[in-house]
Each structure stands twice: as C-alpha cells, then as structure tokens.
Symmetry: C2
Subunit: 462 residues, 2 copies
C-alpha cells in the first residue's frame, strides 16, 4: 500500500500527512489499557492521514479510498480504549477533528458537526443555559462523533441512561463508502446502525442530540466507613427521584487514596467514597440522605469554582478516567467492564467485593437502566496472568454479571454490540468493499460467526 502516496495529488489541497511521527500519533488510541490488546495493536500504523475540513472533502477522501481499494479508518481524537480508531489493515486514517461547529441549537437539542470537541459543544450549549445529557469523562479531549461511534455512556447516565437508549441520539448524517457515496440522514431507531459501530459502516459528519438544562453542578465526595454502606448509598442516591445529580460513582478504598493525588488530602485512610455531581438546588436534600446513611461530605466544589481554581473536575476521576489514574501509578493494573443486573446489583457487588478482596477494586458507576437503576462496574484488577483474568471474568458471568470485555477489539467480542442482520445488511449496503475500519466487525470478517445465545449485549439487536 506504500504506492498510495503516489496518488495523494488526487486529494487536491485536502491536508494530509505521512511522516512517521504524526502517522504513529494518529494511528493510536488507548488500546494499551489492556495487556491483551497491547501486543495486537503495537505495530498498527496508517499509511496516510487525511484531515478533511468539510463534508465535501470527506467525500473526496472516501472516493479516493474506494477507487484505490484502500482501507479507511475514521478517527475523532483517538481517546477510545479498545483500539477502535486504529487502522489494523493500514491505509487511510480519516481524522475528523477539523470538521467542527454547531449547525443549530434550540431549547432541548443541538445539531453539531462530528469533529467538534465535546468541550466546545458544551461551551456553546452552556452559553444558552443548556448542556449535553450524557458526556464521556474524556469531555475535554474527545469529539462528539467519536463518542457516538465509539462510546456508550458517561456522566449523566444516572439520569438519562446510556447512549443506546431511545431519545439520547436524535439523528446522524452519514456518508457511505461507495463509488458514489450517499449522504444518509438516520433518525429514530435507524441511528442504532451507526451508534457504537466503530465507524465500520459509514462516516458520521453531523449528529443531533438532546440537551438538558445546565446547572452549576457541585462536585461532591462523600465517604463511608465500609464498602457495603457506600454501595447502598450509591444505589439510594441514584434512585432518589427528587435529588438531581449528573453522576454517582463508587470509588472504594484504596483507589482515590492511592491514585488520585489532588483528592488524597480529603479522603481518609480506608474510607470508601461516592463521587457525585449534584445540582445546587438539590444539595440540601443530598445532605439529608448523607446524614441518614452515616456518610460524610469531605469535598465540595461547584463547577464555577473548579474553573476559577483550575481544579481537576471530579468527573475526570470517574468512568474510564479511574482506570487511567490507576495505570499512571501502577502499570500492572488492568480493568473489567461489568453490568450488574438491576434489583440484585447491590448484593452482587458486595458478594464479588468480598470474594475477590484486594485483587479486584470495585469502581462502580450507578446508572439508570431499563425499568430501574443499577451499577456498571469498571473494576480495577491487579493483573497477574491471562488465565486468571479469564477466570475472574468467568466468575462474574457465572453469577449473572454480564462482562463487556475491554480486552477485545471487535464490536461483538467487546460484548457491547450485538451485530444482527439489520446491521450486517446496512454494512453490505454502505460499505460493499469492506473498507471501513476493517477487522472490527466479526460478523463481517467471518460470516459463519454467531453470538452465543445467552450472551448479554449492551446494544442488543432489535
């Protein structure tokens, strides 16, 4: 594919680069979080990075790849952590981060170009008293297109559920990988075709998402003496209809004490913490719940104080950021992603926490899910061997706690996305040559592949 460079003049004045440093930089994401993905992806490199500034230029790049049979892997800012944005078969990385800007905004919704940084989108929405319903903890770095194509949930899920839930994405404008690429406007359930599809079946150029009212959320840390009390508090908080909060995470001892430098002074030895962003007008009600449950508020800072003091926002210690901070301190740490079934989740996390002891630190994110409220585990694991990691995951599965394996890079094995016939048909139509992000969709790579019947998917087939 080296000869690809001979044709780049066909791309006109669309910015491209092929120097090894920048090629390497734009061919990477956070795959190295996983000791299993690391060796698989370490050598993966694009041949060319293309940086379209408009949808027109993106279309030109698509036609170019189609004509020369070159794989095309779309990229936002590469904050994914399963190698999603990495060009396994080389070819072009289509960096979307220059296609930016708000198309329109109104009360309750916004339409935005896919390469817009979430941070910039939030700033524009805030200026109108609005904000995103759900944002990833990579808010300051990630693009909105990358979030929808590669993410699943985040801060706000305590109120709004996950990206998969109807109504949390309103529309996506998508370019197909064909000789004459089509521009599709996907709305309603059709959005699921490209939601969490890793850019395997189209290039998103615009998205429309709902907005919620913005408040001066209060970063709050509440500590408890024991894990079970903290877990029950987390559940009670996420269940409290009248206490408006954006997130509710359990960070057990010794996670913040060992890995969160800026918060260490606030959190006592051995204490288990709840991290929450609470609306100012719900803070008094929160305090009543804290008192009821024997907790202690050890840290509180409003978003405006966080900004003024340039403090680290609390959400940057939650979701997958927890793993990041742990890895910064201890390279031997790895992680799990576990969905605890609603109704039994508090019992189950206590049971698992006791069973695994120090080996697994139960970082939990409480979320609204289905007809109730549960928690999603992004546990930190003291990694020893591959066999042991499998054993751990199997133990959770045996106890009814679904694993979304973060040590797999295909949509299906990650376990979040069940690729069904609708998806596969859409892929056949939108990418007949299979050039989009090759290697990431099992159902495409191996037509004989089928999911285990009893597997739980976050994005289940319709």
């Amino acid at each position: 594919m080296r000869d690809l460079l001979a044709f780049t003049s066909e791309l006109g004045d669309i910015p491209t680069f092929a120097d090894p440093t920048r090629i390497k930089q734009r061919s990477r994401d956070f795959y190295w979080y996983s000791p299993r993905l690391k060796p698989i992806f370490d050598e993966v490199l694009a041949d060319l990075v293309v940086l379209p500034r408009t949808e027109e230029e993106a279309l030109t790049a698509i036609k170019f790849c189609f004509k020369h049979n070159v794989p095309l892997t779309v990229r936002g800012t590469g904050t994914g952590n399963y190698g999603q944005a990495m060009p396994m078969k080389g070819g072009v990385v289509l960096d979307m981060s220059d296609i930016t800007g708000i198309v329109w905004m109104k009360p309750g919704s916004v339409r935005v170009k896919a390469g817009t940084k979430i941070h910039d989108l939030e700033a524009a929405a805030n200026a109108q008293g609005q904000e995103m319903r759900i944002f990833p903890s990579t808010r300051r770095a990630a693009t909105i297109g990358g979030f929808i194509a590669g993410g699943s949930g985040g801060v706000g899920a305590a109120n709004w559920g996950l990206l998969r839930d109807r109504g949390n994405i309103l529309a996506a404008r998508v370019l197909t990988m064909e000789e004459n690429p089509r521009i599709l406007e996907l709305r309603g359930d059709d959005i699921q075709k490209v939601n969490h599809a890793y850019g395997t079946n189209g290039i998103i150029t615009e998205v429309e998402i709902p907005l919620a009212p913005a408040y001066d959320w209060i970063d709050t840390v509440i500590t408890f003496d024991d894990f079970g009390t903290a877990a029950r508090f987390g559940q009670a908080l996420v269940e409290s209809p009248g206490i408006l909060k954006k997130t509710c995470a359990l960070l057990p001892s010794p996670v913040p004490q060992s890995y969160f430098k800026s918060l260490k002074p606030y959190i006592g030895e051995g204490k288990h913490s709840i991290f929450s962003l609470v609306a100012p007008h719900s803070f008094e009600a929160l305090l009543e719940l804290v008192e009821d449950r024997g907790g202690e508020v050890v840290y509180r800072k409003s978003q405006s104080e966080v900004e003024a003091e340039k403090a680290i926002p609390l959400y940057e210690y939650t979701w997958n950021h927890t793993t990041m901070w742990a890895l910064k301190h201890d390279k031997s740490i790895t992680y799990l992603q576990t969905f605890f079934p609603a109704g039994q989740n508090v019992e189950l996390v206590q049971k698992m926490n006791e069973h695994f002891g120090d080996e697994v630190m139960h970082h939990l994110e409480f979320v609204r899910s289905g007809g109730g409220f549960t928690c999603f585990g992004i546990q930190l694991v003291r990694y020893t061997t591959d066999e042991r990691l499998d054993e751990i995951m199997a133990f959770y599965e045996e106890h009814g706690c679904a694993q979304f394996n973060p040590h797999a890079f295909t949509l299906e094995e990650g376990g979040m996305k069940e690729v069904d016939l609708v998806q596969l048909d859409f892929k056949r139509e939108s990418d007949p040559k299979g050039l989009l992000n090759p290697g990431k969709m099992l159902a495409w790579e191996d037509p004989s592949w089928t999911a285990a019947k009893d597997k739980t998917y976050l994005y289940a087939a319709g």
Copy 2:
C-alpha cells in the same frame, strides 16, 4: 361561636366576610366526590372568613383565634377533594389566596408566597424558561401552599416522583398557632412536618421549590386495541430514560369516549388510551416506541397550540380531573386511589381489570417511585353500595395493592400520611390548643389511636 363577630374589629382593616353565600362558598371543597364524605361535610360552615394580604395580617388573625379559642382552618382555593380545607368545627377560615407573589427565582429554584396560584407561578417561571417539577391537574385554580399542604403529586411525577420525595420541596416558612406565634423556616426533612399535613400544624406563608426546564410539551394521545397492551406501553414509556415526558396516564375505554367531550372525535370506540406530555425533542423517539408496541398517535398539540386555540390542556383530563369529568356525566361514579407495587404493577392492573370488569375503570398514572417505576390508580368505580365499595378496596388490599382511601377525611385514614411521634410532637408545639383544622388528625383527636402495623403510607414516618 356566633359572638365571634363581636370581636372582628380586633382584626383592624384585614378583609373579612361573614355573609352566608360567601361563607358557604369558602367553606367548601370537592368533598362531594365521595358519597361517604358528602353527608359528613354537607353542613360544615365557617363563622368568619379572613383574607389576610400579608404575613403580618395572617399573624394578627392567628393571635385573634388563639385569644378567643377559635378554630382556624387554612384554605388555598379549596380544590382539595377530601374535605381537607373544610372547617369541621366552624370558626375562622383563613383564606390565603391574597398572599401572593414571587419572593425570588433562580435557575433551578423559586421561593413564592403560599397563596400564589400555581398558574401564576408557572407563568413567572416560564418567562425564565423554567417550570415546576410537579403540578396538580388543578394547576389553573389551586394555590402552591394548598398543593403542598393538601396534595401529593401530579403532572411531572413520571420524572420526579411525588412531593414526598426528598428534594421536591426545598423549604417552607410556617407560622405557629400560639399566643406569640413563631415564624419557622423548615428545610430539608423538616419540611415533611407540614407537607400533606392539611394545615393541622402550622400556616405556610412561603414555599421554596425546585424548578425544571420548560419545554413546549406536546399533548399526545396514543390508542391501543387492548388494555394490557396499553398498560405495558405506559410502563415502557415511563421507564424509557431517553424519552422526556411529564406525565403518562392510562385512560381505558370507555372513559375518554364517555366523559371527555373535546377528545371524543379522536379516540375510537373500544380503544384504550395513553395520555402523555412529551418534550418536542423526544417526540420522534416516542413514535418509535409507539410503532414497536402497535399503538397509534391520534392526537397531538403543543402547549403553544393549546394556548393559541384555547383548547383544554391534556393534563386537565388526568390525575383527579379524570374523576371530575366522569362525575359531570354520571353522578353515580366514585373513585379509588391505589398504589400498585413496582415490579408487579402491570400484571396486577391487568388482573384487577379482568376481575372487576365494567365495575372498575382502571385510570392509571405511571410515576417514578422508589427504585423504579410503577402506576398509581385513580380508578373510577360504578358505585352501588357502601358495602360493595369496602369489598372492592379489600380485594385490592388482599392482592398487595395499597389503598389511599379517598373516602376518609383524616390524614391517617386517607392512608397517605403516617402521623408519627415527630409529627405529633410538632403539632403539640405548633398548635398547643389544637385549633388548627380540628378533626383532621386522628392521632391528635384520639391519643390511643395507632396505625395498623402492615399499613402502607404514602408519607411514611421516618
């Protein structure tokens, strides 16, 4: 107590009236909804109506009653439906509806004087892009103080739960009935002392409540061929985290067809309807759910269209308004209030619906409750005898469906409020002579009274 009129000069220029027509008018509420309450309250009359314009004047009226040992029953606009605002022992009715106005408003909350009409409060909030979290279907008539002292939930409960839930009332300013009345600022859990207390333990002069963002909600009616499908749809809608709605009511056949004149043209014979107010940016997602479940959207009108056309807002067919429309057409109808336990509620309503057939029409309000979502029944009953009404209620109770008896006038027998020692102590302190709304608190009238151990209360003791 007739000689009371001899002392009215002590009230200075505070407006009062004692003419029979207006006395009668201000001594009434919607007690006549219940065939049992009707004979009990038919003759109830105040001796004097006092209309303070300020908190100062309310204090003067309190001192006047304390000095002369005159019962004082507070009143908003008398839309309660259990005789709550009716002066069982005569005396003064303190009409709060002239103590009005916004004290302050900010993003997420408002402080307002107790006699303010909810309609006016909403108009002021709307001007800032805000609105109440929860309002009663009597929004156009009721006062905010009366809602908090006499109501329990309403439109918005699908998102925010009920008034009892922590965070849904932020503060209440309360005057005690003493020689030297105190002015209390109740915040946090202390608010529960006066929430749904029928004005038996203090006079609320100001309340602080949270606000939510205002949208141009779309009044939507969706019809289904059978009751079970409609019930399952209602449950699915209230459970959908990404579809923002304010209310979700099931109006079974033949309720709208027989009693809702303005909607009759839209709703087919035998169809079972879901009435919902949906955010405009969630409407497409709603349509997907409707399609999934085989429903049909037969009516949609945004709030601005409703206003422009002076149409009857959809919420005026929900909550206790359903009962009102039915009674307008058929005096023999009465009603129940039932809390179906979350988790089994859809099964149970189907079972009860089958069991009672035409005798009980299962009007349901789907709400957020505890750790999940369930429905609250405000069923219409074709009344025959008192014995049969008891039998019906007993049948629900036997099947685990708690009754909040709308045919009782005390806090405890209505079953919503469990009067515990905290409440009773507060009453002793705030109203030592027992002059406030006498007759409505069983625990006060009869100190030997205790609740049945297995009774479910909407406002359970802490």
